[in-house]
């Protein structure tokens, strides 16, 4: 049976790992390659590296980092941040990334999803969606949560699915950084509606939150950052706990 995946996410700025709380304050949390290698040895199933600056000058630093990750780590990894066209995808795949994650650029140019799927295969194309629950429902955001759009989470996720995305990485901005659990109600709807895997993101604080997102949110994978980076949750212990809950996990 296919295992549920545990995915540490490393936000990268100037070649270093950082993590924001509610998308604002950033704290330092170490060397990305070293952290990635440690996570891989501890049993992380995949890694995500997000270039949160993604300015033109810093692209090359990030591409070099992707290459060093690929050289040193023997599990799949996704990279995102500043991917606007096919040549960006090609550059990152050539550096050794397994998948790319697109977010704002997908909302601005939805056809990019079709193009990535056609040229490199659906499995390469992760669409990340940042959304906030408002009185008008779940709305998608651009630019790391800074700009609201009129796109509805569920219809946008379905469109991504139909255009050939391989996975949806859904971050609830209401839950992110709060450490009070994932947005399981919204995740359950996404898992039910979509034919591609859904990665839960935003809200992990305790091992029970991972159990709940797999059991109640039907997520295929759970992503977290600071709880792993600061050692609040250790991956081997988390995986033992989830196994004990009869969740299919790779040990």
């Amino acid at each position: 049976m296919l295992a549920k995946r545990i995915i540490p996410c490393l936000d990268i700025k100037d070649g270093q790992t950082v993590k924001g709380t509610n998308f604002i304050h950033l704290r330092q949390a170490g060397d990305p390659v070293e952290l990635g290698r440690i996570y891989s040895e501890q049993g992380a199933d995949e890694l995500v590296f997000l270039d949160i600056t993604a300015s033109h000058e810093e692209r090359k630093t990030f591409t070099d980092l992707v290459k060093r990750v690929a050289e040193n780590i023997s599990i799949p990894f996704t990279v995102g941040g500043g991917i606007n066209e096919l040549s960006d995808v090609n550059r990152l795949l050539e550096a050794g990334a397994d998948k790319v994650s697109i977010n704002s650029s997908a909302i601005r140019h939805p056809h990019l999803i079709d193009e990535i799927a056609f040229h490199f295969g659906s499995q390469v194309c992760v669409v990340a969606i940042d959304a906030r629950q408002t009185e008008a429902g779940w709305k998608c955001y651009l630019n790391g949560g800074r700009i609201e759009t009129d796109k509805d989470l569920f219809s946008w996720a379905t469109e991504c699915n139909d255009r050939g995305a391989g996975e949806i990485l859904f971050t609830s901005m209401n839950h992110d950084g709060v450490k009070n659990g994932y947005a399981n109600d919204a995740l359950a709807i996404l898992s039910e509606t979509l034919t591609i895997p859904v990665i839960a993101s935003g809200g992990a604080g305790k091992p029970e939150h991972f159990r709940d997102t797999f059991e109640k949110g039907n997520a295929d994978a759970a992503l977290a950052a600071s709880v792993f980076h600061f050692g609040e949750i250790k991956i081997p212990e988390l995986k033992q706990y989830l196994c004990g809950c009869n969740i299919n996990i790779r040990l």
């Binding site: 049976m1 295992a3 690929a70 050289e71 023997s74 039910e192 034919t195 591609i196």
Partner: protein, 196 residues
Amino acid sequence: MNVAIVKYNAGNICSVDYALRRLGVQVNVTADTEELRRADKIIFPGVGEAVNTMSYLRRTGLDTVIKSLKQPVLGICLGMQLLCNHSEEGNVDCLGIFDVEVKKFTPSCRKEKVPHMGWNTISHTNSPLFNGFDKDEFVYFVHSYYVPLCAYTIAETDYILPYSSALHKDNFYATQFHPEKSGSVGEQILKNFLNI
């Protein structure tokens, strides 16, 4: 030991290259017939699409070279599928080492998502490729097409249906999963192949 990776338009060549280098092996990524024939071990990787890849192999003559190899060869993912007779992906004739057809997964419900992507177990393993494992180990898969169980099956995986996750015939070995992305289990499988 001289290990060659068949160089062609496949997506995961550098990942396989890095994985072998981590094992301390000298790797030659090449499309040169003589260099391939001289290698002690050959890896035929693959991420991509069957029709384009087969036409590339035919155009470059690599199809004939691969079929004529006598040393141990390891096909990975699309590399494994291309070693079979025929693929439903684009309805294309392949290299025909393994006399079996590559089929497309047909999900029977929404839970059965295609591609089969992520970590799944290999069971009923029956080959030196899997030396050192005493339980069903997890390895990493990404694929939408599969090889049914057949006379060459040396490992099986259950997703939508039980199918071949590894094959063996004479000097040809093949895995549907990616040993180069399967952590320490994958490293052991690559080491086992190098020791064949």
